[in-house]
């Protein structure tokens, strides 16, 4: 094996994910997401009014000093609704996605360990994946009715096969590696291999997928609420706000800008984070 070309055969260095995250696009992503998250968390402090408070200042106002993003058709302050609306999306992103990821990973783990579990798991994954995301959303929403819970269930259901397959592939491929075989020969149990070798080496790809899924979750909430099968009025969410803004687009153009920007910041932010982590992984 010649020198420079032999570099390809050298072992991978463990990735510097944390470093990558704090540079370049990773940093931009973190900042974008961070701003929106903070805005949502600090809503009670930052919002000038309540999310459903109907005011006497008039409806469908354009941007004024008292109402930076105007008011909607029932005289609610759009800025406040935006800040509180972000919270709904935060719930979906930071609770529903991890739950789906956890369940999916567990199923994937079981599938990679026992043959019969594998068959059942694969069929279930196939079933869920046979529904394009939005079609799945419509199906579940028809059964369960609209609402935040429905949106969460849709996201959880959509994440399960993704993480399930990811973990399953990861476990199966790491198990074949020579150093894992060396451990197995000496007496390492499956559990040991999982804990000591599979998990640390899979963590990176799991994190990348987590970021991607969070980006998709915002999209799903937005699409569902936009179609009327997501968050129920009067609760504000980014999707419902865009929907409202679209309805009034000829009259009060500014209304749609706020939630649009928030959605883009979140989706783009998570995407950039996932890209920078993915790059770090590839070394």
């Amino acid at each position: 094996m010649s020198g420079a070309l032999a570099a390809a055969a050298a072992p991978r260095r463990p990735s510097q994910a944390r470093a990558a995250l704090l540079r370049g696009q990773g940093l931009v992503g973190l900042v974008l997401v961070g701003i929106v998250v903070l805005a949502g968390l600090l809503a009670p402090v930052l919002a000038p009014y309540g999310p459903n408070e109907q005011l006497a200042d008039g409806n469908l106002l354009e941007s004024t000093a008292g109402h930076l993003l105007g008011t909607d058709e029932v005289s609610r302050d759009v800025l406040s609704r935006l800040l509180y609306g972000i919270r709904v999306d935060l719930l979906v992103i930071f609770i529903a996605v991890p739950i789906g990821a956890a369940i999916g990973s567990l199923v994937g783990l079981l599938a990679s360990t026992w043959g019969f579990a594998d068959v059942i798991a694969q069929r279930t994954f196939d079933l869920i994946l046979a529904f394009p995301a939005l079609i799945l959303a419509i199906t579940l929403a028809t059964i369960m009715g609209p609402g935040v819970v429905t949106v969460s269930v849709v996201i959880i259901a959509a994440e399960i096969p993704i993480f399930g397959r990811l973990v399953r592939t990861s476990v199966l491929s790491v198990r074949e590696l020579p150093y894992v075989e060396a451990s197995t020969v000496v007496g390492a149990s499956r559990w040991w291999v999982l804990r000591r070798h599979v998990l640390p080496n899979s963590l990176e790809s799991l994190t990348v997928q987590l970021a991607v899924s969070m980006s998709v979750a915002v999209f799903v909430e937005g699409a569902m609420s936009f179609l009327g099968i997501g968050v129920r009025p009067p609760t504000p969410s980014l999707g419902t706000l865009i929907n409202d803004g679209m309805r009034n687009i000829y009259v009060a153009k500014v209304q749609v800008v706020g939630p649009l920007v928030a959605v883009v910041m979140l989706v783009l932010g998570f995407l950039l984070i996932s890209q920078s982590l993915g790059k770090a992984r590839r070394g």
């Binding site: 420079a4 150093y179 060396a182 040991w192």
Partner: protein
């Protein structure tokens, strides 16, 4: 014919790499000459060959002069280079498995090679393709011309690569480790082919290799490279008879050799045959069921073999012989389809999981691939300590002490313990793998080609270390390798495998001196010896099998 075919002067190649790859070398090659460019990894031999074609990797810069029949080629623009690539100079690469486009037929690829330099009709191209395939001795060329690469064997693929290189009758052929990835019998055939081509066409061949046996078999002259510098240039006979430079001498002495008829017979201490063999196969078979209408495939076919305590049994064979699968059966990684395997008197299939776990304390496995024989996230100390951790042996202090002991035994400095695998060289990683294997004082070690991916001099060191440790600690070892000379160095007994069966087995001296089975004889004869016996064709097949 006034100018030389190839004249390289003061060639230097730089990378972003810390050290320059090539440091100002000179090299000459005449028509009808086979020159071997020899060196270990990092010597710059491949880079030199690629520089002639202008195929250096991204970020590499070359300086100096490369003249092909008097014309300067270094620094030519891409369009000019395209014209001479494949037509005046052609190259053959190392890995035949991946050198061909998998979604195009052989005939299509040859046609593309022809089309790059002249107009040919489909019919002409096909006729030429068949002619070329016949020239490289591929059977039934009219049929194979329509084949896809995956339908050919490794040796046949390499012949196709040769055919591609010869398509436009180049005057200079560059061969970069053309036989390294091939079985030893196939290697002999390909080398024979190269010699024949040189004789027929009068082309010059620059053969890049690390294998001194190959050099002795075909080369007229040798150029020895070490980390980018030429340390010695000589005719083959002269170089082997009286190497001038210390590095050349070191390289030659590190090459493991098969016994010569005049060699003194090595004394092998008789191994205790009393008591239970450490490892025993009884009519063992591993059969993989056929998928989608294909026939079932027997990777291991009715093998009966035994390994005594403290004995080293070499399992040797070419690819597909089943030697790796057989070793993995003993390691408990692959289940048997029929027959049984016994470790220290216990049938692996019959005992329960708890007992199996106990037995595993006496087992160890040394894998081949230096890139993945260690977990990239664990430090050297953690990797070595892993077997101790798995079985909860002793307390923290005891384990630390044992790790230090093991590091010393494999001759690594204590500070290596805190390093990560990517910070070590291939040889160092294999020493760590060895230390890990010995952590629990195993009674049976299964070594699967542990040195095959290492440079010759590094391999020699690791093998010497291994032999010493085996003598000292007295473990039995199943040593798997495709390299007969390596087996000769370390094994007490040898079993030759072919297509899943053991064709011959016995004490090493006996089998190598007087092989009885025709396949063993062919195998031994095919190994190119680092001893040139005559200018044209040395050490190769006196044996027609």
């Amino acid at each position: 014919m006034a100018e030389r075919l190839l004249e390289i002067r003061d060639l230097a190649i730089d990378f972003a790499h810390p050290r320059p790859a090539v440091n100002g070398i000179d090299l000459d090659l005449d028509r009808g000459e086979i020159v071997a460019l020899v060196g270990e990894s990092g010597s710059g031999k491949s880079m030199t060959a690629r520089a002639i074609l202008g195929l250096l990797p991204e970020g590499a810069r070359a300086r100096g002069s490369i003249r092909l029949e008097g014309q300067e080629v270094l620094g030519l623009p891409e369009t000019e280079l395209d014209r001479l690539r494949g037509e005046r100079v052609a190259m053959v690469f190392q890995e035949p498995q991946t050198a061909l486009n998998p979604v195009r037929t052989v005939g299509w690829q040859i046609r593309e090679a022809l089309r790059a330099h002249r107009k040919v009709s489909r019919r002409e191209a096909r006729a030429r393709a068949i002619e070329l395939l016949a020239r490289v001795e591929i059977p039934e060329p009219e049929v194979r011309v329509g084949y896809y690469p995956h339908q050919l064997s490794g040796g046949q693929k390499q012949r196709v690569v040769l055919a591609l290189a010869l398509a436009n009758d180049p005057v200079l052929l560059l061969a970069d480790e053309p036989t390294t990835a091939l079985d030893v019998t196939v290697q002999a055939e390909i080398l024979e082919l190269l010699r024949g081509l040189r004789d027929e066409t009068g082309a010059g061949i620059l053969l890049v290799t690390h294998n001194m046996g190959v050099v002795a078999a075909v080369a007229d002259r040798v150029v020895v490279l070490k980390t980018g510098d030429v340390v010695e240039t000589a005719a083959t006979g002269a170089l082997f008879a009286a190497p001038a430079h210390a590095y050349t001498r070191q390289l030659l002495s590190a090459v493991p050799r098969l016994p010569e008829p005049g060699d003194p017979v090595r004394l092998v201490e008789p191994v205790a045959t009393v008591g239970e063999p450490t490892l025993r196969y009884e009519d063992a078979s591993v059969v993989y069921p056929g998928r989608h209408g294909q026939a079932a495939f027997a990777a291991v076919d009715s093998v009966t073999l035994a390994l005594a305590p403290a004995e080293v049994l070499g399992l040797v064979g070419e690819s597909g012989s089943g030697k790796t699968t057989l070793g993995r059966v003993a390691a408990g990684l692959v289940p048997l389809s029929t027959g049984s395997v016994w470790i220290e008197g216990e049938d692996l299939a019959a005992i329960g999981r708890a007992r199996l776990r106990e037995i595993r304390r006496d087992l160890a496995f040394v894998p081949q691939d230096p890139a993945a024989s260690l977990d990239p996230r664990m430090t050297v100390a953690e990797s070595i300590a892993e077997p101790l951790d798995i079985h909860s042996v002793g307390d923290r202090a005891a384990r630390r002490a044992r790790v230090a002991e093991l590091l010393e035994a494999v001759r690594l400095a204590a500070e290596h313990g805190s390093r990560l695998p990517h910070e070590l060289s291939g040889g160092q990683r294999q020493r760590v793998a060895l230390a890990r294997a010995l952590a629990l004082r195993p009674r049976l070690v299964i070594a699967d080609e542990p040195t095959s991916a290492l440079d010759v001099s590094v391999q020699a060191e690791v093998l010497a270390l291994f032999a010493e440790l085996q003598r000292e600690l007295g473990f039995a070892c199943l040593f798997i390798s495709h390299d007969l000379a390596v087996i000769y160095e370390v094994a007490d007994r040898v079993a030759v495998m072919r297509r899943g069966s053991v064709v011959e087995s016995g004490p090493i001296e006996q089998v190598f001196a007087n092989p009885t089975h025709p396949y063993s004889r062919a195998l031994i004869a095919a190994v190119p010896e680092p001893v040139p016996s005559s200018p044209a064709g040395a050490g190769l097949g006196e044996m027609a099998s």
